[in-house]
């Protein structure tokens, strides 16, 4: 049935009616088919008639649809565009629309020439003796590259990056594992208070019971707190008495009287 269609055109030899569906599948896309049609005009690509090309393409698409061939969208998009192009090409020359059509035809012809050139390039490449097909390189190359690794690849930025990496890693490590503080514990203070309190006949400030090996203010405050806690503990047991004259005043401490009266009263006026 498509034979009549073909007759109207310049008889593309590649499009035998029987093999129409196969041939369409064989084409890479609309441009591929157009190029094939153009070449079957048996004139050089520079002088093909775009109009007759358009008509051939539309005829192929039409016959394909008549035999319910599934056509991908791009075939139909090209068909729609070519229909538009045909309408422009049929207008009398000189009108704006006709010029538009000519410009579009030029573009199409240019694309066909580009594709044709690339086809030719592929053929040119394919005709060359190819490595591994027509010519062969050495099958068992020898590795004479005794790698001389005596030289070092060193640069300043690598050195600095390494230094920063080391510092950062060490820094992050320490955040999670703080070095242990050597602080005066309550146990230490209890021991020292018990040792010293007997030797003091009268009231003495808490500070006098601090050890004299303290490193800095932090250690001093910690020792003071420990000693106060130890004092409270001992006062509760009745061994000593505590006294503070005013708010934030010095805390005084002495051994408890053997009678041991109001023990805890004074500690918190």
């Amino acid at each position: 049935m498509s034979a009549s269609v073909m007759d109207a055109t310049s008889e593309p030899t590649t499009l035998a009616p029987d093999s129409l569906s196969l041939r369409l599948e064989g084409f890479e896309g609309p441009l591929d088919l157009l190029l094939d049609l153009a070449r079957s005009q048996k004139v050089d690509l520079a002088r093909i008639s775009i109009l007759s090309l358009v008509e051939q393409y539309l005829a192929v698409i039409e016959s394909a649809r008549r035999i319910r061939l599934e056509l991908a969208a791009d075939w139909l998009v090209m068909a729609a565009w070519l229909t538009w192009l045909k309408s422009r090409l049929l207008l009398p020359a000189g009108t704006e629309a006709a010029e538009e059509g000519e410009a579009a035809a030029d573009i199409l012809a240019g694309r066909l020439r580009d594709l044709q050139a690339m086809r030719a390039a592929a053929a040119w490449l394919g005709a060359r003796p190819q490595l591994g097909h027509e010519v062969f390189a050495r099958g068992a190359p020898e590795d004479l590259t005794e790698t001389d690794r005596s030289r070092l690849a060193l640069d300043m930025s690598a050195l600095l990056r390494a230094y920063l990496a080391a510092l950062r890693r060490a820094g992050s490590r320490r955040r999670y594992r703080p070095p242990p503080l050597a602080l005066w514990s309550v146990q230490d203070a209890l021991r020292r208070l018990a040792d010293l309190v007997g030797s003091l006949p009268d009231w003495a400030t808490l500070e006098r019971f601090l050890p004299d090996t303290l490193a800095g203010p932090l250690e001093r405050r910690a020792a003071l707190a420990s000693t106060l806690l130890a004092g409270l503990e001992m006062a509760r047991g009745g061994a000593i008495r505590l006294r503070q004259e005013r708010d934030f005043g010095p805390i005084l401490l002495r051994r408890a009287e053997p009678a041991g009266t109001d023990r805890l009263a004074e500690e918190q006026e």
Binding site: A8, S10, E28, G29, L31, D32, L34, Q41, V43, D44, L45, A46, R47, I48, S49, I50, L51, S52, E55, D74, L89, L90, L91, P92, A93, A98, E102, A105, D106, A109, G110, R111, R113, D114, L115, Q116, A117, M118, R119, A120, A121, A122, W124, L125, G126, R128, P129, Q130, L131, H133, E134, V135, F136, A137, R138, G139, P141, E142, D143, L144
Partner: protein
């Protein structure tokens, strides 16, 4: 080395046998093409590497193995006419399908080029299979990205492409104009009045 007959030193046209031996061994041993610069590094100073290679090429002309200029250097290759005999014994990889060859040609001529541009030229979409085949053969490689929306990857050919097709450099590809059989005259009279059928 010292036992080889000394060649005339003054004549630049005939490099001495010792140099020829070194060049022969180096090129023979290499898996990839050897540049004249690489050769000059192992030759005695003041010896013209190009002259040595020319002498080596002359020596191997017509032999079963020949010196070919490829990918910016030289490489020994079997003579093309021996392919039928060798194919009986040496394993030959599959040829690239037509689609892959076309895609390769487009990339070679338009590089650096994006995949959509390749598809535009071919007028058909490019299958993953084709791209994979070219990549796997090491014939194409990414060449950065185009600074345009989406930053699409740019593709180009590799030195392996040159080696595969026996090209010394990309400029050895035929000019695009020469590929078209017909003279590059301006296009198509769209023939506004053309009746059905006849093209021209």
């Amino acid at each position: 080395m010292s036992e080889t007959e000394p060649a005339p030193v003054a004549m630049p046209a005939e490099p001495d046998e010792a140099c020829l031996r070194i060049a022969e061994a180096l090129v023979f041993a290499s898996a990839s093409p050897v540049s004249a610069r690489a050769l000059s590094q192992v030759l005695p100073e003041a010896v013209d590497a190009d002259a040595v290679l020319a002498a080596l090429r002359a020596r191997y002309a017509g032999r079963g193995v020949e010196l070919a200029e490829v990918a910016g250097g030289v490489q020994f290759r079997t003579a093309a006419d021996l392919a039928p005999a060798l194919r009986k014994v040496v394993e030959v990889p599959r040829r690239l399908p037509r689609v892959a060859m076309e895609t390769l040609a487009i990339i070679a001529y338009h590089q650096p080029v994006t995949r959509p541009e390749v598809e535009e030229i071919r007028g058909a979409s490019l299958s993953q299979q084709t791209l994979d085949a070219l990549l796997e053969a090491g014939l194409i490689a990414p060449r950065g990205r185009r600074e345009s929306p989406g930053r699409p990857t740019l593709w180009g050919t590799t030195p392996a492409f040159l080696a595969q097709f026996g090209l010394s450099e990309l400029r050895e590809l035929p000019r695009r104009e020469d590929l078209l059989v017909e003279p590059p005259s301006p296009v198509t009279e769209p023939a506004p009045g053309a009746t059905e059928g006849e093209g021209g």
